[in-house]
Amino acid sequence: MMTNVKISGYQLALLIMGFLFGSTAVLNPTAMAGQDAWLAYILAWVGGFMLIWLYVRIALINPSLTLVEILKVTFGKYLGTVIALLYIWYFLHLAALVLRDFGEHMNVTVFYRTPMTFIISCFALLIAYCLRKGLEVTGRAAEILMPYLFIFVIIIFFLLIPEYDTNNLFPFLEKGLTPVIQVAFGVLTFPFGETVTFLMIFPALYSPGQLKKVSFAAFGVMGFIILGIIVRDLLSLGPDLLTRLVFPPSLSTELTPELQLEPLISVNFLLGGWVKITVCLYAALVGIAQLLGLNDYKHLVLPLVLLAVGLAMWLYEDLFKMMDWTANVYPYYAFPLQFGIPLLILLVAKIRKLA
């Protein structure tokens, strides 16, 4: 099977980090928790560590098998195939969702009159090229490009220090813990739980011994950076503005003295979104190829990317519907796939070991 694809530990870490950064940093899913956004995020982050531990365990129990193969092994041929199809749909949906997010962001902040289909298609073209060149090329490109993402985040964080007002963190838990936990659950499913996609990529790691270390390190580093972004937005905008804005970072970045750095937010989205969509579509492609028993997924890249672009335009009528759906429906839709089935896989594996 896909044994010819090999990426290094560092590349895998960068892919996980870019994947987590993705659209999270721009959409700021914690915004609804107001002044307790940081707390909701930290709760979700801790939960995220548990999820990645779960995924790593599954990958270690089934070395060099992808999620689709693991499903077949665990649930038998037919049930396994059905669940695998569900996952393939989920990866495709995720890619379409991020594509649409990117298009909406560009439409709102920079290109007001450019048709969104055009923006999305241009982005998809780039991703199709990366997919055809394979995961190694994407990994190597991430090595070159991802450092810029970190640099931009750090620059903006420090430039905004004069705007920070620590009063924005209070009153602590004004409406109790319940809304915070609700938001934390949302953040757990987006972005942390979405790393279930990496179960399709873990077998490509050159030295499997590094798997645990690499994925935990990536979660730690990127989790910390997103925490910085959330605290930055909260401190500079205040809870009221934060909950009202569509793309909070675009406004907080506008406050940098004497500089116009908003485009950097779009660049960051481009970098993170690129990694995320590429990984999602790669997972979907490998899944399809493995279900069909093919050696190479590369022939299917272009039609699948076309389908993803179509889906991106089809899934949501407008921005409002999309925001509403991702906030209220998405967590319940994604959680079984992110937590339920992986947990089942692990349990079945344990029981089999005992028997």
């Binding site: 272009l302 699948l304 076309l306 179509g310 089809w314």
Partner: protein
């Protein structure tokens, strides 16, 4: 609208032209499988694009997912 449809057709044709040399080179065993899945995917994408351009797209899957979740979980989403 007509222009959009023409563009979509051109994109599809370019895709097939780009992929065809590779598709023809596949070993006999998998050839049929790949060709069928390739054109099935392409057709789905193409139809979806066409329907979107004609503004006749069917109910979005997100709405279906929402309804299903409503049914199963019974939460007022």
């Amino acid at each position: 609208m007509a222009l959009n449809i023409i563009l979509l057709v051109i994109i599809a044709i370019i895709m097939v032209l780009l992929d065809l040399p590779g598709l023809l080179k596949i070993e006999k065993k998998n050839k049929i499988k790949v060709l069928i899945s390739y054109f099935l995917l392409l057709l789905t994408g193409f139809t979806l694009g066409l329907l979107l351009i004609l503004e006749r797209e069917p109910v979005s899957p997100t709405v279906i997912i929402e309804r299903m979740l409503n049914l199963i979980l019974g939460i007022g989403l």
